[in-house]
């Protein structure tokens, strides 16, 4: 009997060896899902939802997608398994029938003088699109998807790659004719998130506004990839998605569309990076005075009254000063701007992809001055007459930034107008369906303005070093996605009276140095 007692005491000593908390966080009941059922979470969206970063989709980035981060926190309070259509490798890129159709991810490299620049990581993509995966997948984020693609049959049909289909959805679609929405709904989600609409304006923005604003056109099958989606089309699609997802009582989060023109892709190359010394400024000013003079003469020759001709031409007598000057940009030629160029305005943007060496060395964005042009300018200074050919030589030297390399104010307006309409739709849908509206627009404005602070750190929208944006200048870093997840959790905790653990952005990496 005594022996048994000794053994019992010894056992107690051994078992008490594992320290136990009074309230262990990993025990059921510590956290709480509140009024929602997190058991089956499905995320709908585009590249931002898939985890896409650094210009590619790759395994590590997918692991750090905001839906996957969320699911890891949901697991503390009833959240179930969360599956993703993982890529085949960690370098990114796609093969279609063995041909590379998407490149590897960007990493940061350094040139000989220590300046960082993004470059594609070495290696060949190994993810073959036609190797379709066995679903279903909780993460239904499809890079490149626009709103109307979510309900487009055939979006996952390999035969349509290059036109109507999306290779990322081809990999994961349950069937060639299924839709993203159908595959999402088939999982009977109890909780969903929807972040769609970015690409409905973003592809237009990235093209420098070379696409068309399709507002008023209700047939998305007639759109090209760089067009702005009609807000009514957006409203119809998102309503359908929300109705379908909530039809069985699921709750969820709708995330609205941030001001895409504030991402580093549009803010890294300044619109006033034409830096001149006093002599250069004087020379450029002189040049544009010559352009104004030539234009006045030309208009008078065309029969425009002299006063009117001078008034129109006066816009070309652009004054340059020592220091930073805004670039010259090409715009459509009109009666009031017959030469079709002007200086950029403060809110206009230059794209990250512009040829920066052309800006620096070839007079791109100002004037391509040649010895011949200088000779004509000299003649004009001496008050000599010039020929029509010489006049054309001067006008032709104006080397404004092409439409594809910049966003002008009318293009920015078109984007803003559509985006505001999308966001109104999302706000209305959230309210009508007792869903959370995560105001990412406001959050992103705040980050762009003053950064996002977290325990012992902050991120800003600075390209390469700010920590929020990956090296493509458009998509977030894992840390950026962690912030999205954290904000979503805060919103869920508040609106659905849940108690879920937050996300520490410091635990997630930013850009990768090679």
């Amino acid at each position: 009997m005594k022996k048994i007692l000794y053994i019992a005491v010894a056992m107690a000593a051994f078992s008490s060896c594992e320290p136990e908390f009074n309230n262990p966080v990993d025990e059921v009941g510590f956290y709480d899902q509140g009024q929602v059922d997190l058991s089956t979470y499905v995320a709908l969206g585009n590249s931002l939802t898939s985890g896409y970063a650094d210009g590619a989709l790759y395994i590590d980035a997918q692991e750090n997608s905001y839906p996957n981060i969320l699911a890891s926190k949901f697991a503390f309070a009833g959240g179930g398994n969360f599956t993703q259509p993982l890529m085949n490798d960690n370098i990114g890129g796609l093969l279609f029938n063995g041909q590379a159709i998407a490149g590897t991810r960007l990493v940061l490299s350094y040139d000989a003088s220590g300046n960082p620049f993004p470059t594609n990581i070495a290696g060949s993509p190994t993810t073959e699109v036609t190797n379709t995966l066995e679903g279903p997948f909780n993460n239904m984020g499809v890079p490149g998807a626009k709103s109307y693609h979510l309900v487009a049959p055939g979006y996952g049909n390999a035969a349509g790659i290059g036109s109507t289909a999306n290779p990322y959805f081809v990999r994961m679609a349950s069937d060639a004719e299924s839709t993203v929405l159908a595959d999402a709904a088939a999982q009977s989600p109890t909780f969903f998130s929807l972040w769609i609409g970015n690409n409905d304006v973003l592809t237009y923005a990235i093209s420098g506004g070379t696409g068309e604003d399709r507002t008023g056109n209700l047939d998305p099958t007639s759109y090209n990839s760089n067009d702005i989606t009609d807000p009514n089309v957006f409203a119809a699609v998102t309503s359908q998605v929300v109705n379908t997802m909530t039809s069985a009582g699921a709750k969820g989060v709708l995330i609205n569309i941030p001001d895409v023109t504030k991402v580093p892709f549009f803010t890294t190359v300044p619109n006033n990076a034409l830096v001149l010394d006093a002599g250069q400024a004087a020379q450029l000013t002189l040049f544009f005075q010559a352009v104004a003079g030539i234009t006045t003469q030309g208009l008078i020759n065309q029969g425009v009254p002299a006063a009117q001709a001078q008034q129109i031409a006066a816009q070309y007598a652009i004054n340059f000063t020592e220091g930073a000057n805004r670039w010259i940009i090409d715009v459509p030629a009109t009666q009031t701007n017959p030469l079709g160029f002007r200086q950029m305005t403060e809110e206009e943007r230059v794209l990250l992809t512009i040829d920066r060496s052309a800006l620096q060395t070839q007079g791109y964005g100002s004037v391509a001055i040649t010895p011949d042009v200088l000779q004509v300018l000299g003649k004009l200074q001496q008050g000599a007459q010039i020929t029509e050919a010489e006049a054309n030589l001067v006008i032709g030297a104006v080397n404004g930034i092409d439409d594809k390399d910049a966003l002008d104010s009318s293009e920015i307006n078109a984007i803003d107008t559509a985006r505001s309409a999308y966001n109104s739709t999302l706000a209305g849908l959230a309210q009508q369906n007792d869903l959370i509206l995560l105001d990412f627009e406001a959050l992103f404005d705040r980050i762009a303005e003053s950064g996002y602070q977290f325990n012992g750190g902050q991120v800003t929208t600075e390209f390469g070093s700010g920590g929020a944006f990956s090296l493509d200048g458009i998509h977030l870093t894992p840390r950026g996605y962690a912030i999205v997840a954290h904000e979503m959790i805060q919103a869920i905790n508040e609106q659905y009276e849940a108690n879920l653990p937050g996300v520490n952005p410091a635990d997630y990496p930013t850009v990768f140095v090679q």
Binding site: C17, P19, P24, K73, S109, R479, A506, P509
Partner: protein, 414 residues
């Protein structure tokens, strides 16, 4: 009286300070079983550590004892805000001690003591939430102490000796909270050096005013273990950052603090002995664990420990010719101050319970067994002096630790 006692207890419970540091008080199986008391106990050659002055009070001509303990320690950590939950990997440390004393004559005794009073062995899972502070650490120091003791009168003796320390350090952590190479592997560093030599001393005095009462005092000096040109190995560094994080060597100082012990023992009768010790460890010396790397980097880690006390109580009961039973308790106060609770030695105040026995298996040989259970209360604590890009990034949560330490030894006497 009772009220005052309760107040003291309440104050102890409230005291927001922590215990232990990397002191490992396991310097003798018999003493350990008695709450690690010993500065005024003359029992075996273990006294060479606890108070060298006591050697000349030993009755035996020759006494040798060897003992070893196995430390099974556990650390659990959690953070409610982010749902972190982690347990240190079970590590087993094996401190040991070897003592020998020899009576030259009635007054003079010589001895040798080899023991391991400082050490730490903690291993967290790779890349755990606090891996920018520590991933794993292994500190050990072996003390070699030739000792002499002289009995001035029948009641008073002195003793002491120089100490040579051979220290080893191996410490691994990640360089920050998230940076990886392109393969997704976190960047980190391991520093390693063994056989770092250093010198110190010990000195003690013992006083036996009566046959039954023994009093003692012992001082062991601070020993600064100076790692120089140890091996620093940086891992997972991207090619373009190789210059910044080149492998090389490191320098670091680790002070092993001085310790003052005073105590008394009382032989109640032929069967019962009780003992009390008070230890003051001068942890104030441990200001920082700063590491200078040969590549120009430095790692600044303030520790800012404060001096701490340990209160020990033990008893011994001679049950028979063969069996001697022992028990004890001590309260160990943490030297860690608020905001400096680093996960490499996450020790708060602890309550310690000891027990043991000796079995005299022959005239000359005895087996000594001991057992120590260390109980730490759950504690919310943080380390607030980690900086990233110039911004403080506190790391904290709730810690709960414990350790159980069985030990076995053998004593030979002539």
């Amino acid at each position: 009286m009772k009220t005052r006692f309760m107040t003291i207890l309440a104050l102890l419970a409230l005291a927001h300070s922590y215990a232990g540091g990397f002191r490992v008080a396991l310097q003798g199986q018999r003493a350990l079983a008695m709450g690690h008391t010993g500065v005024a106990v003359v029992n075996t050659s273990e006294v060479a550590f606890f108070n060298p002055a006591g050697m000349s009070f030993l009755e035996e001509k020759l006494s040798v004892s060897f003992g070893m303990s196995a430390i099974f320690s556990n650390i659990a950590f959690q953070n409610e805000a982010f749902g972190y939950s982690v347990r240190s990997e079970s590590s087993v440390g094996t401190p040991f001690n070897l003592y020998g004393t020899y009576k030259i004559n009635e007054k003079l005794s010589l001895g040798i003591a080899v023991y391991t009073p400082y050490g730490s062995q903690v291993q967290y899972p790779d890349n755990w939430a606090g891996s920018h502070l520590v991933n794993d650490i292994e500190l050990s120091a072996i003390f070699f102490q030739p000792t002499i003791s002289y009995k001035i009168t029948d009641k008073i003796s002195v003793g002491g000796g120089p100490i040579y320390v051979s220290g080893n350090v191996n410490f691994s952590r990640n360089l920050d909270r998230s940076t990886t190479n392109t393969e997704g592997e976190r960047i980190g560093v391991t520093i390693d050096q063994s056989g770092i030599g250093a010198w110190g001393y010990t000195a003690g005095l013992m006083f036996k005013p009566t046959d039954k009462l023994t009093m003692g005092i012992n001082y062991r000096s601070e020993i600064n273990v100076e790692a120089r040109d140890g091996n620093a190995d940086f891992r997972n560094i991207p090619e373009n950052l190789q210059n910044q994080f080149a492998d090389g060597t490191f320098d670091a100082d680790l002070p092993l603090p001085a310790e003052l012990s005073v105590g008394a023992s009382y032989q109640v009768n032929g069967k019962w002995l009780v003992a009390f010790d008070y230890n003051r460890v001068f942890w104030n010396a441990y200001e920082a664990l700063d590491v200078q790397f040969s590549n120009g980097l430095e790692s600044i880690n303030p520790r800012n420990y404060k001096d701490s006390s340990t209160y020990r109580f033990g008893f011994q009961y001679n049950a028979s010719e063969t069996f001697t039973l022992r028990g004890g308790y001590y309260f160990d106060e943490s030297p860690v101050q608020d905001g400096y609770f680093a996960p490499e030695t996450p020790r708060n105040n602890s309550n310690n319970f000891t027990a043991g026995l000796s079995v005299q298996i022959s005239n000359r040989f005895a087996i000594d067994a001991s057992f120590l259970y260390i109980h730490f209360n759950e504690i919310d604590a943080s380390y607030d002096y980690y900086f990233e890009n110039g911004q403080a990034a506190p790391f904290g949560g709730t810690y709960k630790n414990n350790a159980f330490i069985p030990g076995l030894g053998i004593t030979y006497s002539l």
